[in-house]
Amino acid sequence: MEKFSVTRTDEGAVTLLSLKGFLDAHTAQTFENVLKTLMNEQRYAIVVDMSELDYISSAGMGIFMGFIEEVRENQGDIKFCCVNPRVYKIFDLLGFPNIFEFYATREEAIGQFKNIRDHS
């Protein structure tokens, strides 16, 4: 079984990334490449579904920090949804809820990008 995988689904202007498995120092590069591709395609409305993410390390979280400025400079955002409590605890400890928005469901998170969707 793969240690970590990302599934990308584009819904209009919003890109949904579903993470699965372990996002740590080993797998961070894979995920960074996915985000780099999105930046190249100028897709800045990003929802990250973490329902199947079992673990995230600081290195994994560092990837988000590495892109958030570029995304927001382009009027986009990275929003998180369906984060399991164990993973959320790590986000919370490091102060991520002050920086990123967390939503209970995909629909809610995607709905936050309503304006962008209307434009497209």
């Binding site: 120092a25 390390s57 994994g60 979280m61 990837i63 988000f64 590495g66 790590i90």
Partner: protein, 592 residues
């Protein structure tokens, strides 16, 4: 069954006012309610809300405020009915009565001791009641006027005191819980930090690539500290500073920091920018937006520094953060050092293998046996240096009475030099058998080398053909060290005729000269490894060194003469490493 009302009626007697008893009952039920509510909760805000609101509702009080004492500061935790935003205001703690008191009755000395009492008076608060638990004052609750404007009766104050006492226990429990939660959170943070260190350790072990190590480090730092700006500057002993990785900082801004780097490499641990002692360095860092500087140490060496921008979550870098950063960065530094050592070992192995190949090629090019020529002695010697320098000599018997002797030195070292030498040899061996004049052979070799090599590759080359019938020696010298000619212990004019070094000019023209050898004559060709051998002071042997030796020892058989020369060179170098190949090629006409 008698009711509680009957019980009170009996206890307090018939002369008591039933209203009074009713009021008492109401109070008791309030206390019961509050006790039940408070004990059901461990949330401080919930408890404080109830302690304040229940009596305000029961006694129709329009305003109230709660202060809690923490770290000898009084902090407004909750206010009701007060329009001014007062919550979270703090005052230095001041001793107040340890039982219910009227604020107006406080003495002027008490009032002037702190801003607190004027503050309470301004908010029109009337009475204060301490929260006392286990003989410690946790804080106070203050109430304003009743709507009726009637002063608080003693019974009412008793009621408020009872309530505060129940509240105090609940507050105490809640505060303890809060403290435990805080400790728990700190523990969780520590665990998270350890996990990160463990995680990065694992990640770092799996790679020996410098960029990848730095990436893993920076990802972890960015995630753990919530930073979007970072840079790693490496301190290379030879190349100087290298901006290895950076994000969020403009390259220009970092370049302006360069004068500050030397200062930063002296840091011992993660340091806040304002604590950098050097004023210019500090200013430059502040201008660039650097919050923390972390040196990368491995085995007492500073490999570089990591620069971090401020945390995005708005929190400061705490002492525990700096400790963590120091540990994490040093761990990455060890990995970097390991990676470097590994690369160096690989590189050494690669060079070693290449040199072995070069040595093998060279050895196979050199003649292993010297032809037996009546009336002459011919001898060659090659001592390759560690680097394998590209020297070459050859002895080719063209006909029973004609023998070619060649010597050359290819620029460069190792395998490329050896291959060029091999080319030269094969071309020479093909052409020398043809009936082509020597200058034309050399011109062709020159064109071949010129056309097949880079501009910076060339060969100094000397070739001569001995005719044993008439003892003529016809030679062309293409820029090679002049071979020496010795007759009866005296040097004659060296063999200089020829032309330019091979491989520089495509259309170079060469000429030949012929000398005639007498019995006892010695020709000695050599490469610059002989005349440019150095001693520990860096001085070179020079041409005169060899000339003197030849004059002195010309009578020795060639192998012994060569041995002598090598011994003298070793004596001269006094242990300094041999920099270049040493090659000698000798021809001697034997005495009749």
């Amino acid at each position: 069954m008698p009711s509680y009302y009957d019980y009170l009626l009996e206890k307090f007697g018939g002369d008591n006012d039933p209203d009074e008893i009713n009021r008492r009952l109401l109070e008791l039920s309030s206390l019961f309610e509050i006790s039940r509510t408070l004990n059901a909760s461990l949330e401080l805000s919930h408890i404080l809300n109830n302690v304040l609101l229940i009596p305000m509702g029961r006694l129709l009080i329009s305003r109230g405020l709660i202060l809690l004492i923490r770290d000898s500061l009084c902090r407004v935790e909750l206010a009701k009915g007060i329009r001014e935003p007062v919550e979270h205001r703090t005052f230095p703690a001041v001793p107040l009565p340890e039982e219910a008191f009227e604020i107006s009755a406080l003495s002027e000395t008490q009032a002037s001791a702190s801003e607190l009492i004027p503050f309470l008076r301004r908010l029109q608060l009337q009475v204060g009641i301490p929260f006392i638990s286990r003989n410690r004052v946790l804080g106070y609750v203050f109430y304003g006027n009743k709507l009726s404007r009637q002063p608080f009766s003693e019974a009412e104050l008793n009621f408020l005191t009872s309530l505060a006492n129940i509240g105090a226990t609940a507050i105490q429990n809640a505060l303890q819980l809060e403290e435990i939660r805080q400790v728990n959170r700190e523990l969780d943070e520590k665990i998270q930090q350890l996990k990160t260190i463990f995680d990065i350790g694992e990640g770092l072990l799996s790679t020996l690539d410098e960029q990848e190590i730095l990436k893993i480090l920076c990802y972890s730092l960015a995630g753990q500290m919530t930073i979007t700006r970072y840079a790693v500057v490496l301190n290379h002993p030879r190349q100087g500073y290298q901006l290895a990785i950076h994000k969020g900082y403009a390259r220009e801004a970092l370049r302006r920091l360069e004068p500050a780097f030397a200062e930063l490499f002296h840091l011992n641990e993660a340091t806040h920018c304002p604590n950098i002692s050097h004023p210019q360095a500090r200013q430059a860092l502040e201008d660039a937006g650097v919050a923390v500087i972390i040196p990368m140490h491995s085995q007492g060496k500073c490999l570089g520094v990591v620069l971090l921008g401020p945390k995005v979550n708005g929190q400061p870098f705490r002492a525990v953060d700096l400790e963590f950063l120091t540990t994490l960065v040093n761990q990455a530094a060890i990995s970097l050092e390991n990676a470097r050592l590994f690369r160096e070992t690989l590189e050494k192995q690669r060079i070693e293998e290449e040199l072995n190949v070069a040595r093998t090629i060279q050895m196979q090019l050199l003649p292993k046996q010297f032809p037996h020529v009546p009336g002459y002695a011919i001898h060659g010697l090659n001592l390759p240096s560690k680097q394998v320098g590209g020297d070459y000599f050859d002895i080719i018997q063209i006909a029973p009475h004609r023998i070619a002797l060649a010597i050359g030195d290819v620029t460069g070292k190792s395998v490329p030099a050896a291959l060029l030498m091999a080319n030269l040899q094969s071309a020479l061996r093909i052409m020398i058998g043809e009936d082509i004049p020597l200058p034309r052979i050399v011109a062709r070799l020159n064109r071949l080398i010129y056309q097949n090599t880079e501009a910076d590759k060339f060969i100094t080359f000397f070739i001569g053909i001995l005719n044993t019938r008439n003892h003529a020696f016809t030679y062309v010298n293409a820029g090679h060290n002049y071979p020496l000619w010795c007759r009866r212990g005296r040097l004659r004019a060296p063999l200089t005729t020829g032309g330019i070094i091979l491989g520089i000019m495509e259309e170079a023209v060469y000429e030949a000269d012929t000398i005639y050898l007498e019995p006892g004559d010695v020709l000695l060709a050599y490469t610059d490894g002989i005349t440019e051998a150095t001693n520990p002071q860096g001085e070179e042997t020079g041409e005169a060194f060899l000339e003197t030796l030849l004059e002195k020892h010309h009578q020795l058989p060639l192998p012994e003469l060569f041995e002598r020369i090598i011994q003298e060179i070793h004596a001269f170098s006094a242990g300094a490493a041999q920099q270049d190949d040493i090659t000698l090629l000798g021809l001697k006409r034997l005495d009749n």
